[in-house]
Amino acid sequence: MGTITGRRAAYERARKRRSTVVAAVSSLAVVTAIVVLVPKMPRWDRVHESFFNGERFANSLPRLLDAFVLDVKIFAWSMPAIVVLALIVAITRNSRSAALFPLRILTIAFTDIMRGVPIILWIYLIGFGVPGLGIDRPWNSPLIWGSVALVLTYAAYIAEVFRAGIESVHESQRAAARSLGLSSWQTMRHVVLPQAIRRVIPPLMNDMVSLQKDVALVSLIGPIEILRQAGIDKSKFANFTPYIAAAVVFLLITIPLTRTTDWLIERERRRTTGTRIS
């Protein structure tokens, strides 16, 4: 008994060691190839100077971080609006009440139209068009209407993600909830949605990361956020390094965001499930 357990543990250890070695060797090979081979390219010194200039990087970074605050703001007020609107659209589209038929048609038209046009076009159309109607300040700001364009397009995409999640919850869950006397709204709110949202968190995060980057598109109609600031610095110093710096700033936000979500999902899974197949 003891020896079998010992042998199994030894086998597991050896297997783990082997995969660690394979991973380390292959990563090392790739990194070495890049570090050794890329500098051997004929124009490397010029690319190095115009894209990876340490001095320019250090010079631009504070300005970029300042400008990035605006990106974070646009993201911070757009995201909750997107989630709420997407949920309303998805729930309306999934409702079974005959009375909501006209609304269902409306939501279908909404998703089709918003998704069917490039997001840049919506930012131009709404961001320039609505303030053009002659609304008073501060409500004529391109910043507001650019964000509205982001909210509407992203809500259309994310509504479809929620809808897929809602439809993935088995009919028997609704039957059980209804048999307990819950109304159809209570069933949606307490039984269907919590399960649906858990299931769509990975694709939802995908869209959130995407939104985090698309926020930069609002700069097309005026506001100076990080991408625009990087462009200004690039022109001023005739050097592309600010773009690299902007890319690094984006990664500093998006990577921890995705890692944290994965960790949260894993924790939730471990809390609610029994045994796990390795």
Binding site: S172, G181, Q186, R271
Partner: protein, 249 residues
């Protein structure tokens, strides 16, 4: 003879071209146990779902305490709080702990406060030997435990009638006993029970009335001794012969 709790009059139900119930008449007396037996597809589950108003019927009437609950537009939610239902596949909510599964409806539909609902849940879990599972999640329980939790969940809203839809059909044989013990206890407590079942021996022992369904009709109805020992129709005799040959009775 006690009062009639539920009556069905000429109930019809079809799904598209597939007619599942073809004129069911049935009276369920308060405090009795009624078993629906019959081959798969005979309409047992559909009948239970119709009584719970999960499926609207096409024709006929369903009365609860003499009130027609099958009229179109009748508010189903209060009816369902009086008629509980337990399903073949448990249908527990996987994202909620056992406690939350049980207290959801009392808190949301009966307006019971959280502490009272939890105390009541703890009491029911204790009664059915599940006290240590209060914080477990459904996926962490065996099938028999899940089904007992599902029964507790249905009981937590204090229904007057409990519909049990083949509640042991998804269970391993050695887990069937623990669930049937729960049903026996419910009978002792005087609850009105309607069960669709393939457990013939159990149906014979526990029932006050047995209904044999076939092709959407009740083809034989009576005391267990009568239905199981001296069936009248030829179709009923054939069904019972097959059951006996399969060693299920």
């Amino acid at each position: 003879m006690s009062a009639t709790k539920i009556s069905l009059r000429d109930v019809h139900k079809s799904f598209g071209t597939n007619s599942v119930l073809n004129g069911i008449d049935l009276d369920i007396a308060e405090g009795t146990v009624v078993s629906l037996i019959g081959p798969s597809g005979s309409g047992k589950s559909t009948l239970l779902r119709c009584i719970n108003l999960l499926e609207p019927i096409d024709d006929g009437q369903i009365f609860l305490d003499g009130i027609d609950i099958s009229v179109p537009g009748f508010d189903a939610n209060p009816v369902r709080r009086r008629i509980g239902m337990v399903f073949q596949n448990f249908n527990l909510f996987p994202h909620m702990s056992v406690q939350d599964n049980i207290t959801l409806s009392p808190i949301r539909t009966l307006g019971v406060n959280k502490a009272t609902a939890r105390a009541k849940a703890a009491e029911l879990l204790e009664r059915f030997g599940l006290a240590d599972k209060v914080n477990a999640f459904p996926d962490q329980l065996s099938g028999g435990q899940q089904q007992r939790v599902a029964i507790v969940r249905a009981l937590a809203i204090e229904p007057e009638v409990l519909l049990l839809d083949e509640i042991t059909s998804s269970l391993d044989p050695e887990l069937v006993g623990e669930v049937l013990d729960v049903v026996r206890e419910l009978k002792t407590s005087g609850m009105t029970l309607v069960l669709a079942t393939h457990e013939m021996g159990f149906a014979r022992d526990i029932s006050d009335l047995v209904c044999l369904l076939d092709g959407g009709h009740i083809i034989e109805q009576g005391l267990p001794s009568q239905v199981f020992s001296a069936p009248q129709s030829e179709r009923a005799q054939q069904f019972l012969e097959r059951i006996i040959r399969a060693g299920r009775l």
